[in-house]
């Protein structure tokens, strides 16, 4: 006698694409409005980020970076989602989501300092609305939800976006965040980059749900699934979600299906759990190659442009890593003083042990 219409949500949903793998527009209605200069800027940022990721992996091997989670393959989700926002919007990232906060205004050398475990890495400049990357999976989702409530209470038309992975979508904090955002109708975007793996655990062992986007239904918020290798689909989805948030229509959960070409972190070996065939399939969907085809056809981009951006990116990364390396080291007394606004007496005394 159950009246619960359970069949309704047991259908697969197709991920939204705007561009075909050959760079043809296949979904004209969903094409985001962007000028030629904006299209070139997006490409610039994606190529720059790929080069920086390549360099970061090498810097990591040389011991010049600390913890670093590679991003290659996820440029469309990272660059596109940030590009769809306004400067005043707030970003609460996970550990891999460093490109978003850098393109949102965190100086690159500070991202390197963060990786090296230097406190100044998280000392976000005034006027830049980002949090430092979060290590506890899911914790940032709740911070974004609280930040979004702040915007709502202050009657500011800004939104907060937060990122996690397919693994992160299994955390309790994910459900608590979605549920609160639904109850309070908050201007927040939950952006899940489903790259198929949580370290080594495949998506098939993560959830029995047909998609992560389905999970929005239970929280009473909007859920969409998009092609995360298609930067135009990402931009369109985030623009719409941000507009909904600004108009007081509440939160959106976006699941972007993507792939990280490299292992989870610099200390993992992806060949242990992924096949060559699978990697090949995803390589063919490379978001940069796909977008380049589109721009080349429009006469907006050439191979020389790519080469030029790579050189620029290399030079910039070198400059910024040097700046990070030259930044004065933290000290224990400085660390002690950063615990409280006013250092309590017992901590003042503890400083004496480190003179």
């Amino acid at each position: 006698m159950s009246k619960v219409p359970y069949e309704v949500y047991t259908e697969e949903v197709e991920a939204l694409s705007v561009l075909s793998p050959d760079g043809e527009i296949i979904n004209k209605d969903m094409l985001p409005k962007l000028t030629d200069d904006q299209l070139k800027e997006i490409m610039y940022r994606m190529v720059f980020t790929r080069t920086w990721d390549d360099r970061a992996v090498n810097l990591g091997r040389q011991g010049r970076l600390g913890f670093y989670a590679p991003v290659s393959g996820q440029e469309a989700t990272m660059i596109g989602s940030e590009y769809a926002l306004q400067k005043e919007d707030f970003i609460a990232p996970g550990y891999r989501d460093i490109p978003q906060i850098v393109w949102h205004g965190l100086p690159l050398y500070q991202a390197f300092l963060y990786s090296r475990g230097h406190q100044h890495g998280g000392q976000v400049p005034d006027g830049v609305n980002v949090l430092m990357p979060q290590i506890i999976i899911g914790a940032q989702i709740l911070h974004a939800m609280g930040i979004a409530m702040g915007y709502k209470l202050k009657k500011q038309k800004q939104v907060a976006i937060t990122y996690t992975g397919d693994g992160g979508s299994s955390e309790g904090d994910f459900y608590e965040g979605l549920n609160y955002a639904g109850v309070y109708k908050l201007p927040v975007i939950f952006f899940v980059q489903n790259n198929g793996y949580a370290i080594t655990t495949p998506f098939s062992k993560q959830t029995a749900a047909l998609s992560i986007a389905h999970k929005a239904v239970a929280a009473g918020i909007k859920g969409v699934k998009i092609d995360g290798m298609d930067v135009l689909a990402v931009i369109k989805a985030v623009q719409e979600a941000a507009e909904r948030g600004r108009n007081g229509e509440g939160a959106t959960l976006i699941e972007a299906v993507t792939y990280r070409f490299r292992p989870h972190s610099l200390s993992d070996d992806a060949t242990k759990y992924r096949s060559k065939e699978e990697e090949g399939e995803w390589n063919a969907k490379d978001p940069i190659a796909r977008f380049a085809k589109y721009l080349e056809k429009k006469g907006l981009w050439t191979e020389e442009d790519t080469a030029r951006v790579k050189e620029e990116a290399k030079a910039k990364v070198n400059e910024e890593i040097k700046k990070a390396e030259k930044t004065e080291k933290m000290t224990i007394p400085g660390l002690i003083d950063s615990m409280f606004e006013t250092t309590p007496k017992h901590l003042e005394e503890q400083k004496a042990d480190f003179k």
Binding site: G122, E176, Y180, E341
Partner: protein, 326 residues
């Protein structure tokens, strides 16, 4: 001055701060409409509106994370965790996120949050409603832990906690909510965090304690004075992180003997910390080892035996006699 019990004093503090600062927000499970399961926030939603005082869905981690996010936005959240046993659900947000926001961001963001939670035994509550988890929280760097023992302190400490720009864990003993009334000023005043209070002067032995055990210790001290003429000095720590060791040391310099009384299980707790600090700062003033009176290292028991599980005046008297006869 008005006569208030501790619950009314806390409510009064919340009202004072909600009125004074539009950034103060109050939320948690059931705190809005009915004013909490103990009615500690009763009437505040009516007075300040649903945007300032509100009910949340039943999810402790989200209560903590909401507070952290609002703190980043410049609000001053007062977040209630309904009972102490449920702080584990929120512990990441309290003990990891809020407590290190200032450090992680190099001072760019802070967590001006008060986490309120009722705790404490002797009221025959359900399992996991009464445990004394203050030692666990006190071990977290970056967080202050406050345990008031009377209405006057509760109001002044609460106002000070809300105005503090770092996270404060504010623990309200269930047995003290309605225990007695005392004079409480109606205006706003603060009691400094990290400052202990000498609640009774004496010259023979010092009892260092906090929360409900202040009252149990006073009973023991009365008895000792009446029967044996022993003059006990009692120090109410009021804040158990950081500990006001100066007040403790000054007292030991006078009495040369001390015991520490806590409701929590004996090992690795606040009493152990107090004794370690006494060893560092006042060992040459001691005529006897410092003893602990505490709960045994078991889970907190069901209501049936809690009266004997909790430290009693008799156990405190025994410990005092031991250090005097050492």
């Amino acid at each position: 001055m008005a006569q208030m019990n501790m619950k009314e004093a806390i409510r009064d503090a919340l009202r004072v701060e909600l009125k004074r600062d539009p950034n103060v927000l109050l939320f948690g499970e059931d705190v809005g409409h009915v004013g909490g399961v103990f009615r500690a926030t009763e009437g505040l939603q009516k007075e300040f509106g649903e945007e300032r005082v509100f009910d949340t869905p039943l999810a402790e981690s989200a209560i903590g994370g909401l507070a952290v996010g609002l703190g980043i936005q410049g609000f001053r959240p007062v977040a209630e965790i309904q009972f102490v046993g449920f702080i584990f659900e929120a512990l990441d947000q309290m003990a990891i996120q809020a407590s290190r926001m200032r450090y992680r961001s190099g001072g760019r963001y802070n967590s001006p949050i008060v986490f309120r939670t009722p705790f404490g035994g002797g009221v025959k509550a359900a399992e996991l409603h009464t445990d004394s988890l203050e030692g666990l929280l006190a071990q977290t760097p970056g967080i202050k832990v406050v345990v008031p023992s009377n209405p006057y302190d509760a109001k002044g400490l609460m106002i000070a906690s809300i105005r503090d720009n770092d996270p404060v864990f504010f623990m309200e003993h269930l047995n003290l909510y309605h225990a007695f009334r005392a004079e409480v000023p109606e205006n706003d005043y603060t009691v400094e965090l990290g400052k202990a209070n000498v609640v009774r002067e004496g010259s023979d032995v010092t009892i260092i304690t906090y929360g409900m055990m202040v009252h149990t210790s006073v009973k023991a001290a009365d008895e000792l004075e009446k029967t044996k003429g022993i003059k006990v000095e009692i120090i109410d720590l009021r804040t158990i992180s950081p500990i006001d060791i100066d007040t403790v040391v000054a007292s030991i310099q006078k009495t040369n003997r001390a015991i520490v009384v806590q409701e929590a299980q004996k090992s690795s707790g606040v009493a152990a910390e107090v004794i370690a600090q006494i060893n560092e700062k006042a060992i040459l003033h001691l005529e006897a080892p410092v003893l602990r009176v505490a709960g045994p290292d078991t889970v907190y028991p069901f209501a049936q035996i809690e009266d004997t599980w909790l430290p009693t005046p008799t156990r405190i008297i025994d410990a005092v006699n031991k250090v005097l006869e050492f």
